[in-house]
Amino acid sequence: MRVFSRINLPGLLSFLALLFLWEISARSSQVIQSYFPPVSEIIRSLLSLIFSREVVAHLLATLGRFLTGYLLSALIAVSLGILLGHFRFAYALFEVLIEFLRPMPSVAMIPVAILLLGIGNAMIVAVTLYACTWPILINTIDGVRNIEPTLIDTGRTFGLGRWKILKEIILPAAMPYIVTGLRISLAIALILVTTSEMVVGGSGLGFFILDEERSLSTTNMYAGIVIVAVLGYGLNRLFLFFEGKAMAWHRGATARGLL
């Protein structure tokens, strides 16, 4: 019974109504069909595409670039963020540099990356890494700077070494901020990967979608968009799953009003 009451009936109905409207208007007019091919056609080509070797290769290329760039940036930005957050002097030195580079839209780095690295995987990964670094870095710095000094002092009083303080106090206390940065960068990574694939071409889902549009296979273009959307959605769910596991202690602590 509870499952039934949780289904959003009006939402589902309007969604299906929209798809239905799309389908009949596409079938009734050639002009509309050239922009919006019938939903049933899109689904059919989606089903044939996801089993085709070509699209699987594009998907894997996109996913590989995404993961490499994202995970590398997480590693670099979190470490750098802890350093800059912890050592005020370092932060004072780099603040202006950060504030100067940050407002520039990271996609502007694509031409530089092409120049330096050519048009291969390395370039796409580098651009993704650059773009993802900012939110994680800024949030990590914020998180470390906002730690109650008492926490660290208490750790020192109990004779914890630098490494222990970092691992047992600083990292957990800054974790909520770090996770926020990681979540923002998740969406950014997919934006940068697909954009670079469109600009340099060759392989990946971004290239596939643009290429299908240029060759006017509109049905395949929409199917490609569905695949990217599902990929984005899936990665987001995966992130929330890990976040839920990693942050369970935090929710428990705040719910009891300890923090």
């Binding site: 959003n8 009006p10 939402g11 589902l12 109905l13 309007s14 969604f15 929209l18 922009y35 932060y91 004072a92 030195l93 780099f94 603040e95 202006v96 540099l97 504030e99 100067f100 580079l101 407002p103 520039m104 839209p105 990271s106 996609v107 502007a108 780095m109 694509i110 031409p111 530089v112 092409i114 120049l115 330096l116 969406a187 997919l190 934006i191 697909t194 954009t195 469109m198 600009v199 971004g206 979608i209 643009l210 299908e212 549009e213 509109t218 273009m221 929409y222 490609g224 968009i225 990217v228 959307a229 599902v230 984005g232 959605y233 987001n236």
Partner: protein
């Protein structure tokens, strides 16, 4: 935010030092000067492009597209978000459609927009419009929905009509969150105008940068990036000014409550 004069000065020194290192590395040929032209050359190219009007032209073209998409999105999605916050049924009906469309990464909209609008301004405006939709819509909706019921009931008790209570109570109470949506969208707008100009355009600052790279006019490319960084910074500052003026009452209230 704390203002530490000394730290800013340190930062400026670092910025100058970075520029100096760049200059000397390039001049000494430690890194390929073709890829890293000396900073002084980039700066003089930057000023040359400003005085020749080239940069101004490209920036204005981009700004026009950005403004059109951004304001169209605000004009449509703030009212829709307010309506969704007020009417539960509307939110429920649109929820699944929104949640289906939202995970689509914005750059992927570019090919669709090219199909509909070709390579003209309409294409860029549409892409920006769609990409700004979600932050504006969902923040407005959240803001309206989390308004204290008592505020709205009080307005009703004092005999305010529905229309007036929206203007006098709901919009001001939700405005901090509406502003959040608008601020997020501003960053997205700049990114998307550059993306759409790189993928399909013959002018605009995004096109200018990519085109300079393709013609190996590297100094010009860096000058374009410098322009873009300054543009992003300026837009942020303008928004910040507007924000603190529009929400001065809110800041004051928060300070008093603290």
């Amino acid at each position: 935010m704390k203002w530490n004069r000394e730290s800013k000065l340190n930062g400026l020194v670092v910025l100058m030092a970075a520029a100096g290192i760049w200059e000397s590395v390039s001049r000494l040929g430690l890194m390929n000067p073709l890829f890293f032209p000396p900073m002084s050359k980039i700066l003089s190219m930057f000023f040359y492009l400003i005085s020749s009007g080239e940069i101004l032209y490209q920036v204005l073209v981009s700004l026009k597209r950005a403004a059109a998409g951004y304001f169209l999105a605000a004009l449509l999605f703030i009212p829709l978000g307010v309506a969704m916050g007020i009417f539960q049924w509307l939110h429920r009906s649109l929820e699944i459609i929104i949640e289906t469309l939202r995970p689509i990464p914005p750059p992927v909209v570019v090919p669709v927009a090219m199909l509909f609008f070709g390579l003209g301004d309409g294409m860029k405006i549409f892409v920006i419009f769609i990409s700004c939709a979600w932050p504006i819509l969902l923040n407005t909706f959240d803001g309206v929905r989390s308004i204290d019921r008592v505020l709205v009931y009080t307005a009703r008790t004092f005999g305010l009509s529905h229309g007036r209570s929206i203007i006098k109570v709901i919009l001001p109470a939700a405005s901090p969150q509406i502003m959040t949506g608008l601020r997020i969208s501003l960053g997205i707008t700049l990114i998307l105008v550059v993306i759409s100009e790189m993928v399909g355009s013959s002018d605009g600052i995004g096109y200018f940068i990519l085109d300079s790279q393709r013609r190996l006019k590297v100094t010009q490319m860096y000058a374009g990036m410098l322009t873009l960084a300054l543009l992003g910074y300026a837009l942020n500052q303008i928004f910040f000014l507007f924000h603190s003026r529009a929400l001065a009452w809110h800041e004051g209230l928060m300070k008093r409550n603290r």
